[in-house]
Amino acid sequence: MQNQHETQLLFDLSKQGRRALRLPPCDVPERPIDGLLPAAALAPAPPALPELAEPQVVRHFTNLSTQNMSVDTHFYPLGSCTMKHNPKRNERAAALPGIADLHPYQPESSIQGMLHILHEMQEYLCEISGLPACSLQPAAGAHGELTALWVAAAYFKDQGQTHRTKVLVPDSAHGTNPASAVMAGFETVTVKTLVSGAVDMEDFRKKLDDNIAVFMITNPNTVGIFEPQIGEIGDEVHARGGLMYLDGANMNAILGISRPGDFGADMQHYNPHKTFSGPHGGGGPGAGPICVVEKLRPYLPAPVVAKRSAVSHQHSAKENPQSTIRNPQYYLDYSSSKSIGRVRSFFGNVGVLVRAYCYIRSHGPDGLRRVSEQAVLNANYLLSRVKHILPVPQGDRCMHEFVASARKLKTERGVTAMDIAKRLLDYGYHAPTVYFPQTVPEALMCEPTETESKETLDAFAETLFRITEEPAELLHEAPHTTAISRPDEVYAARNPMLCHCS
C-alpha cells in the first residue's frame, strides 16, 4: 500500500542532528586533520547531505519503490528490452561471499573460481554466437558496439585500409548504432528499410562502396523479423572488404536456432541483461560482451581470461607445489600487442556476467533453444490477437517482437500511440515501446518474452481492444489512476530544474 506522506524529497525530510549510520570510535592514536593534510586541500565543512534517521530512510525508499512498475509486479511488454523474469537464484549467486567481495587486483591464485566462471562465459558466448573470440569487458550494449567499432578501426588501420570511413546503418536501427559509429571516428550512412522491415536491397547496393568499413545490422531486426536477405547482405559487404556487425539486442529470438557467425556476422555484442535475464536495475547496469571472428581477435581489449593447458599445469604443479599459486590454471592474458587497449576500468560488469552464467547453466542447450521458441510463440500469438485491433504493417509473422501501428486510429479519431500507451498504465500494464522504430508511424513495439502466460497475453489483447473503443477525450488525459499523469516534458526541457536547490 503506497504511502504518499513519505515520498517528499530527502532534503525536505532532513532535520539537523539526525543520524543513521554511526561509526566506531577511532582505535588508533587520533591526530587533528589539519595536522595531517595541507590546509589548502581541506573543506571548510562537510558536504551538505541530508540528515536522516534509519527508519526514515527505509520508509522513504520503500515507498518510492511502490511507485514503479517492474517485471516482478507487472507485465512489461517493452519492445526491444526483453523484460523477462529475473531469476532469484541468480541474485543469490551473485551476492555470495567469494563472488561479490572480490577485488579486481587480487592475485590470480585467489580468484580461480571467478576466473573459471569468466572463462566459461567467454566460451559459452562464442558457442552461442558461432564466433571464436570474446571480450567480456564492455559495460553495456552500446559500449559493446563502440568497442567492436574500435576493433574494426584498429584492424583496418593495421591492414593499411584507412580509406574505409563509412558505417552503414539501417534507418530502423537503434540510435546507439550511428552514435557509436561517430565516436569511433566513422561517418554514418543510413540505409532504407521496406514496410516489411527488411533492408531495402536497392538502397543498400546504392550506398555500398569500397569505402565501407562496417555494416551494422540488427537481426532479427527492430520490427522483429529475421532479415530475409541476410546472406546476400553479408556476402556483398564482405565482397567489398567490409565487416558485418550484428547488434545482438534481439538474441532472445535465436538462441540455439541460428548463430550470427553462421549468417555472416564478423562481430556482435550481447545484452546479457536482456537475453540472459540479468535484471535491468531501473536503467542499468547491463553488460555488453562482444564476440568476433578470428582475424579480429588480436585487437580485442586486454585482458582476456586464458586457461593453461591441463598438461602443462599439472606438470608444473608436480615440479613445484608453489606453482599452482604462482601459475594458476586461469589467468588474465594481456599478451596481444595489437589490442585496442582498455575501454573501461577493471575487467567488466562481472556481477551481471555471473547472473548470465547462472542463467545459461540453468537452461543448458535445450533449455536455451526452448527459451527462444517460446519467446517466438508468445510474440506470434500476441501478434495474431493484436492485428485485429491495430494493424501490424510487417505482416502476420514475427520472431520475438512485432510493431503495431496506431496510424489509422490517429487519422480517424485522433488517438495516438502515446494515448494508448498511457491508458494501458491505468489497466495495470506497462506500455510497449512507443514511436520506435521511427520507420513505423505511431509505433507500438511489443515484446512479450517467453516468461508470460497465454492468460496474460489474452487479457492484454482484450484490454487493448477495450481501449480502442474508449472515448478519445478519456484517452488523451490518461492515465487516470496513477499518482501523476502526463508530466509537462516541454516545460522540463525549457526550464531545466535538475537538482533540488536549497
Binding site: A43, L64, S65, R92, L96, L102, G282, G351, A431
Partner: protein
C-alpha cells in the same frame, strides 16, 4: 526451462490461433542455410539446487574481503562498509526489475531517486549539474574528455598527469584514438604531478587538464595551482575525485575558490555502497558547470509538473541523446547505472554530513597509522613525501613485492597492489589502502606479516582449490 508457463495445451491453442502447424513453422522465417542443425555445445541444464551447490563451490575457490581475507587493496575499488539498508532497498524487485523510466507515471520511484541522486552529487562536488550516472569512473573520465574536446572548439590536446589512475589514462587513450585529439602525459616523479612540467605542457591548444585528488598513489595534489594553470590557458579542468575523501577534502567545484574550481568532476562511485564484484558493475559519476549542460552524456532527470499541477520528475534534455539525435548525439550512452546510483543515494542518506566526515577521518587516521608503522621498520619506506589520504605507496627495500603478496595471501591478507605492472619504475612498491573497516589489530598484524615477524603466526593456508565441473 524453468521460467515459462505454456503447457502443451496452451501451445496447441496458441498455434491454432496463429494459424501455424508448429513452432517449427514459425521458425521457418530463418533461412534454412542459417539454421543451426545441432544442439549448442553447452553443459546440460542444472536445477536450482545443483546450481546453488555449483556456484557455492566456485565461490569457495576464491578468497575475498568477506570470505577469508583482510583487504588492503585499493587503486580505485575499496572495501568500505555497506550498511544493510542499502542491500535491503536495492533488493526490492520494484527497483531492480524495472527499466528505464520511459513511462514517467509508473516510474516516479526511480525518477525521484535519480533526482535525489543528482542533487546529492551536486552537493558533493560543488557543481551545478549531475547526470544520472555512467558506466564507471574510467568511462566517466573519458566522456568528460569528449565533452571538453567538443566545448574546446578545435582544441585537441588532453593533458593527464602520470598520477592519474593508469586504467583511466588507458581508457581515455582508447576513447580519443579515433577522434582528433592527443593525450599528453605529464610526469609525477614525487608522487604528485610536476607543476612546472604541467605548466609547460598546457598550451592554447589544450582542451582540458585532468587531476585526480587524492591521486592514484593516494597523495594530495596541489589542486588549486593545477586548476589555475588549466584556466589561465583557457582549458577546462576535469577533477577525478574520491567521494569518501570529500568528507574532509575540498569539493572539486571549490578548488582555487568557491565556484572557480573544476569545470567537470567525475569519480568511481563504488565506494558509495556498492560491493567490489571483481571490478563491476560500478557507478560512473559525472557533474559539471551549468554552462556545459547541453554537452552532458547520458540521462538526466528534471523536475516538472503533471497535467494536474503536481510536482513530478521526467527524463529531460533528451535532444542530446542517441535515440533522438542518432549520429549527432553527445554520446552513444543509452543507459545509466540506475541500481548503483540508487545504492549511492541510500548510502549518502544514511551517512549524512557527519557520517561522511567520520568515515573519511577514520580512513585518514588509520592509513597514516599503518604508513608510519611500516616506515618505522628496516624493510619499508614510504615512496613519496607528499601527504596522503586513505592509501599510500610503500617501498620494499628488499624489492620482493611478489613474495609479500604471496606470503600475505597465505596469512589471509590481501596486502596491496604491486605497482610494477603499472609503473615499471615502482616495481619495488606496493599500493596499500586502508578503509574505516580495518581495525588496529588488523593494522598491527599487517605490519607483522609484511615484516615476517614471528608474531605473524599462526600461518593460515589459502583454501585449496576444489575441482569444479
Amino acid at each position: 526451462m524453468p521460467f515459462t508457463y505454456n503447457t502443451e495445451e496452451d501451445v496447441a491453442a496458441m498455434l491454432e490461433a496463429i494459424g501455424a502447424a508448429s513452432i517449427e513453422e514459425l521458425l521457418s522465417q530463418v533461412p534454412a542455410d542459417f539454421r543451426l542443425d545441432r544442439a549448442l555445445d553447452l553443459p546440460p541444464a542444472m536445477g536450482e539446487m545443483e546450481l546453488d551447490r555449483h556456484t557455492r563451490e566456485l565461490a569457495a575457490m576464491n578468497v575475498g574481503a568477506a570470505s577469508g581475507a583482510v583487504s588492503f587493496l585499493g587503486g580505485g575499488v575499496y572495501d568500505h562498509f555497506i550498511p544493510s539498508v542499502v542491500d535491503t532497498i536495492a533488493s526490492r524487485g520494484e527497483f531492480y526489475t524495472s527499466y528505464t523510466p520511459y513511462q514517467a507515471e509508473v516510474a516516479q520511484g526511480n525518477l525521484q531517486a535519480m533526482f535525489e541522486y543528482q542533487t546529492l552529487i551536486t552537493r558533493l562536488t560543488g557543481l551545478d549539474v549531475s547526470n544520472c550516472s555512467l558506466y564507471d569512473g574510467a568511462s566517466a573520465a573519458a566522456e568528460a574528455v569528449l565533452m571538453a574536446l567538443a566545448a574546446g572548439k578545435g582544441r585537441t590536446r588532453v593533458v593527464v598527469p602520470a598520477s592519474l589512475h593508469p586504467e583511466y589514462r588507458q581508457t581515455i587513450e582508447t576513447y580519443v584514438s579515433c577522434l582528433p585529439g592527443e593525450v599528453v602525459t605529464v610526469p609525477a616523479p614525487d608522487g604528485v604531478v610536476s607543476l612546472d612540467e604541467l605548466r609547460a605542457a598546457v598550451d592554447d591548444q589544450t582542451a582540458c587538464v585532468l587531476l585526480q585528488q587524492p591521486n592514484f598513489f593516494g597523495c594530495i595534489e596541489d589542486a588549486d595551482e593545477a586548476t589555475r594553470i588549466a584556466h589561465d590557458a583557457g582549458a577546462l579542468m576535469i577533477a577525478v575525485f574520491d567521494p569518501i575523501g570529500l568528507g574532509v577534502l575540498k569539493r572539486p567545484g571549490d578548488w582555487v575558490a568557491a565556484g572557480e574550481g573544476a569545470d567537470i568532476a567525475v569519480c568511481e562511485g563504488q565506494s558509495l555502497g556498492s560491493p567490489m564484484q571483481y571490478g563491476g558493475p560500478f557507478l560512473g559519476v559525472l557533474a559539471c558547470r551549468a554552462s556545459l549542460v547541453r554537452r552532458v552524456p547520458g540521462r538526466i532527470v528534471g523536475q516538472t509538473t503533471d497535467r494536474r499541477g503536481k510536482r513530478c520528475f521526467v527524463l529531460t534534455l533528451q535532444t542530446r541523446e542517441q535515440h533522438i539525435r542518432r549520429d549527432k548525439a553527445t554520446s552513444n550512452v543509452c543507459s545509466n547505472q540506475g541500481l548503483f546510483a540508487l545504492r549511492a543515494t541510500v548510502y549518502l542518506s544514511l551517512l549524512g554530513p557527519e557520517g561522511i566526515k567520520e568515515t573519511a577521518n577514520l580512513c585518514l587516521q588509520k592509513s597514516r597509522y599503518l604508513a608510519e608503522r611500516l616506515a618505522a621498520t628496516d624493510r619499508f619506506e614510504l615512496a613519496f613525501e607528499a601527504p596522503t589520504f586513505k592509501e599510500f605507496v610503500v617501498r620494499d627495500r628488499e624489492g620482493r613485492v611478489d613474495e609479500l603478496v604471496a606470503d600475505g595471501l597465505a596469512a589471509g591478507y590481501l596486502v596491496g597492489v604491486p605497482l610494477g605492472p603499472l609503473y615499471p619504475d615502482l616495481a619495488d612498491c606496493l599500493l596499500v589502502a586502508v578503509t574505516e573497516k580495518r581495525t588496529r589489530a588488523e593494522l598491527d598484524r599487517m605490519v607483522a606479516i609484511l615484516t615476517d615477524d614471528a608474531a605473524a603466526s599462526p600461518q593460515r593456508s589459502p583454501r585449496e582449490p576444489a575441482e569444479v565441473g
